[in-house]
């Protein structure tokens, strides 16, 4: 069996795991990262794209608000290319408790969330689709963040510094000898091949799955209660600013403009299984009603797809143990299992939010270094990620701008997301992938209004033509794609999006007849 050895094994390729790998690699540690699926396909890849200003927690959870406020500034600096500086508004709609607005402003002041009250008329000038009945409006530095770009920038940065990043590798056993964890056995989910990774320290950054990984290490009571939430992507940007209801956080009270769409979120329903992606029609209907409160006419707009994500909500259930041994905030939990359970070489980092991924990584790698007896300072708050060196934010028109410059020398393969052919071919090469879904995340392929109606056939054909895949794999890829797409589409099929779906059915079932491929 093949063996790898490293200073640090990171389990989990979401924003936290990739952040830990990048942080550790920057400090000169030798890192292996394993992820059971593609990078950012768990909680990170299933959120709404909000870079928090902290305003959302200013009243309910001041320490989380403070952390978000600080990290917001850091992420804008080190990952500028992944961030769109949309700004955010908290608006008091006629459905909200009018007394909350003053508590909100006070909370922002106390927690350091930059917040400026503006005239509702001005907010309506800036966002004309907003409910005209708003009575208060506060401007905050919310933004939107392209998560796959962020996580891949972290992973590629770590790779450039020697880290080995292994997507599609799931942990089948955590190696524990006595009171020491010294790595894990992982299986390549595509080839079935197993691999032993030996590491001085193992970090479980597996979020909602942290309890499962801890149990593999023989550690009980790491209880992460998954909180399932749905999000709906609407065609086009109904708003260009992040819009929050000025009330205590609840369902369907935030709309995030990101790239060519906007996303409304979210619900919070406890579940036992982090892989539970059930979509409940009543939740979808309620979410559309919530959208209507913020943006009248919301229900007439096209809903592109609905998906669910699970928040990792940590509650420590270790009895009589030395819990909360480290300085964990309420927003995230770092468990040093040497202090908690007497097991050396093993840490769990869970909870938290995407906005604070860097801070979580910093605290984790600080603790790792401490245990390795080799204090090395964290530099992730000063070191920009690749592509973000010039500090310029991503703008929604960037792709169109690039496209206009190359109008005459490159084909457009995905019209919705403006993806040219050369970009697709380059991505296939560097990523070494032949998976349509991997390409979707890297390029936002098929994520626009037509949901892959035209581009997925084209890309399957391009992949096949590059000898990237044989015919059965191309067929399976196409069929898997249309099946998977449908899972997020059917609960929001009405209006023009049903029309679009019917056209896609005509193309894939009628014209191409993919169902009867042999």
């Amino acid at each position: 069996m093949e063996k790898l050895s490293a200073d640090v094994l990171v389990i989990g390729g979401g924003a936290t795991g990739a952040g830990v790998a990048w942080d550790a690699a920057l400090r000169g540690l030798d890192v292996v990262l394993v992820e059971r699926g593609d990078l950012a396909t768990g909680t990170s890849g299933r959120f709404h794209g909000l870079l928090h200003s902290g305003g959302r927690y200013a009243v309910k959870d001041p320490s989380a608000a403070h952390e978000c406020a600080r990290e917001n500034g850091v992420v804008r600096h080190v990952a500028a290319d992944c961030v769109e500086d949309t700004g955010g508004l908290f608006v008091a709609t006629p459905f909200d408790d009018p007394a909350y607005a003053d508590r909100f402003a006070e909370g922002c002041r106390k927690t350091g969330v930059p917040c400026e009250e503006i005239e509702p008329a001005r907010a309506l000038r800036e966002e004309p689709r907003l409910n005209p009945g708003i009575s208060r409006a506060f401007r905050v530095p919310d933004g939107s963040i392209e998560v796959w770009k962020l996580v891949w920038a972290l992973a590629r940065g770590a790779q450039d510094r020697g880290a080995r990043v292994l997507p599609y590798h799931e942990v089948v056993a955590v190696h524990r000898g006595g009171d020491q964890v010294h790595g894990a056995r992982v299986r390549n989910t595509r080839t079935g091949q197993e691999l032993d990774v030996e590491a001085a320290v193992t970090v479980s950054a597996s979020g909602a799955w942290a309890g499962q990984i801890a149990a593999m290490a023989g550690i009980e009571g790491v209880h992460v209660k998954p909180g399932r939430g749905i999000m709906i992507a609407m065609s086009h940007r109904l708003v260009n600013t992040v819009i929050n209801r000025c009330q205590l956080p609840t369902d369907g009270d935030i709309i995030v403009p990101i790239e060519t769409v906007c996303v409304i979120g979210t619900t919070d329903v406890g579940t036992d299984d982090p892989d539970d992606h059930t979509i409940i029609q009543a939740e979808v209907d309620a979410m559309l009603e919530d959208g209507e409160r913020l943006v009248p006419g919301f229900k007439q707009a096209r809903a592109l797809r609905v998906w669910t994500g699970v928040r990792p909500l940590f509650e420590d259930r270790k009895e009589n143990g030395a819990t909360d041994t480290r300085d964990v905030t309420r927003a995230h939990a770092l468990l040093d299992h040497r202090e908690r359970d007497g097991v050396t070489g093993f840490f769990t980092i869970t909870g938290g939010k995407l906005t604070t991924y860097r801070l979580m990584a910093e605290e984790t790698v600080d603790a790792v270094c401490l245990q390795l007896g080799d204090a090395r300072p964290c530099t992730t708050s000063a070191e920009p990620l690749a592509g973000s060196e010039n500090g310029e934010y991503h703008r929604v028109g960037d792709r169109l701008g690039r496209r206009e410059q190359r109008l005459l020398d490159d084909q457009l393969i995905c019209e919705c997301e403006l993806i040219p052919r050369k970009r697709i071919e380059e991505t296939i090469r560097w990523r070494g992938t032949t998976d349509l879904d991997d390409l979707r995340r890297l390029l936002r392929l098929g994520m626009g209004p037509c949901q892959g109606g035209f581009c997925i056939y084209r890309v399957a054909g391009i992949l096949h033509g590059l000898d990237g895949i044989d015919t059965p794999d191309a067929n399976a890829g196409l069929i898997d794609y249309v099946r998977e797409r449908w899972k997020g589409v059917w609960p929001v099929l009405y209006g023009d999006q049903l029309r679009q779906a019917r056209l896609d059915e005509w193309i894939y079932q009628g014209v191409l007849d993919v169902e009867h491929l042999q």
């Binding site: 559309l288 052919r421 035209f454 096949h464 015919t471 014209v511 009867h516």
Partner: protein, 421 residues
């Protein structure tokens, strides 16, 4: 300002169903006007006439399969009009194309046996009546296939097509021809116009001929001409000295546009009128008769008075039927009642893409003469009818032709009865 015009019949919708009905009405002596918001499904469809392709297993002989199929699907449009009504509509269609504006262009086949033609991914799809330019692709032939791609056309990928034709048991390979169209991308429409040009074809053949092996037939994306497809196709066959066939791919569809052009020409030749860009706003009624349709055309509204209305506005795909976010569905022109809607609380769609979708069979409720149930003089044709899942059955154009023809016939019979009375 609203002006007012009088016709015997107004047809709403300019897909195959609407045009077929309008032509039949005009030829039957009625003064006909077709109103349409935009062009219809012809430009999206592959241009083949699929009558019954799957039930769900593949159908080889539609004529033989239809009686059993309608027995099993009593709400299907074919069951309403009877399977015997299909063949005359197909014959009529073939005759219209042959005398159309594209010299020599014709369809081949019929209900006895489906052609089995490769799609752009190389799946083998059954069609009853197909353009002559596609017929040589039949998968029953074991003649090796050379699938020809052009990089400039992003909507056709020869290697994947050839790969799946091979998997269907036919020797096949792919080649790519570099052609210069003055830019890096072109769609089927742009290329089809190029192929109308003889010097372009000569240059194309010059490049392609070197790549072919003896004994191969040649598969090309369906771009072989728009004005003169028969000329373009036979010229290529002659120059290459072998069978050439077209493979339909993503919209816009050149073979579909040929159908549209031929049918519109037939409508005009029969004295019918077509008004495109006419969005129907509302209708005038007298009791349960619809006596006029008010449409917005460029700059002003016009009321089109008519004794008969044929509704051929299509289903959800074309906007003839809409589903709101409150999950209420409606027929968009007349507010006719629908049939086949899932009951409140029932699933509208299900999670399996290729499984049964309850919303799929929704359409306007009609009687066995295709008359909309709550009206005296509105007939319905094509994808607005309930009970079919045409994109899965492989029945779309068959339904459009047969019900368009049937609805017109029903109107003419009543008109005739009224005249003799």
């Amino acid at each position: 300002m609203t002006s007012s015009l009088h016709y015997d019949a107004v047809v709403v919708g300019v897909g195959v169903a609407g045009l077929t009905a309008a032509i039949r009405l005009a030829e039957g002596g009625a003064r006909v006007c077709v109103l349409a918001k935009g062009v219809g499904s012809t430009h999206l469809a592959p241009g083949t006439v699929d009558v019954l392709g799957y039930r769900p297993e593949r159908v080889e002989h539609p004529a033989a399969a239809l009686p059993e199929f309608v027995g099993a699907h009593p709400d299907h449009p074919y069951a309403l009009i009877g399977p015997d009504a299909i063949a005359p509509a197909l014959d009529r269609f073939a005759a219209l194309i042959e005398r159309g504006p594209q010299p020599g262009y014709r369809y081949t086949g019929g209900l006895d046996r489906n052609h089995l033609l490769p799609t752009a991914v190389g799946a083998i799809r059954p069609s009853a009546l197909v353009p002559e330019t596609m017929a040589a692709g039949d998968a029953r032939s074991s003649v090796p296939v050379c699938v020809v791609g052009m990089r400039v056309l992003r909507d056709f990928h020869a290697s994947l097509c050839a790969g799946n034709i091979r998997r269907a048991g036919i020797p096949a390979r792919a080649v790519e021809v570099e052609i210069d169209v003055g830019r890096v991308e072109a769609n089927s429409l742009g290329l089809a116009r190029r192929f109308d040009d003889e010097s372009f074809r000569a240059a194309f053949v010059g490049r392609l001929a070197l790549l072919l092996r003896p004994g191969e037939r040649v598969a090309l994306p369906a771009v072989l001409g728009l004005r003169d497809p028969h000329g373009a196709w036979s010229d290529l066959q002659r120059r290459l000295g072998r069978a050439v066939f077209e493979v339909p791919t993503l919209p816009p569809s050149a073979p579909g546009m040929r159908v549209y052009n031929a049918l519109v020409a037939a409508l005009r030749a029969a004295g019918g009128r077509l008004v495109l860009g006419a969005e129907v706003l509302d209708v005038e009624r007298e009791g349960d008769r619809v006596t006029g349709v008010r449409a917005h055309t460029s700059g002003h509204d016009t009321i089109y008075h008519a004794g008969w209305i044929v509704l051929a506005t299509g289903g959800f795909a074309s906007g003839g039927i809409e589903l709101g976010s409150d999950w209420a569905a409606s027929e968009t022109i007349l507010g006719l009642s629908l049939q086949g809607m899932p009951r409140p609380g029932e699933a509208r769609f299900t999670a399996d893409y290729f499984g049964h979708q309850p919303m799929a069979g929704v359409g306007v409720a009609v009687d066995s003469s295709l008359r909309a149930r709550e009206t005296e003089n509105v007939y319905v044709a094509g994808a607005a009818l309930p009970g079919a899942v045409p994109w899965r059955e492989g029945s779309g154009q068959g339904i459009a032709l047969a019900t368009g023809h049937f609805a017109a016939q029903a109107v003419l019979e009543r008109e005739g009865a009224a005249a003799t009375a």
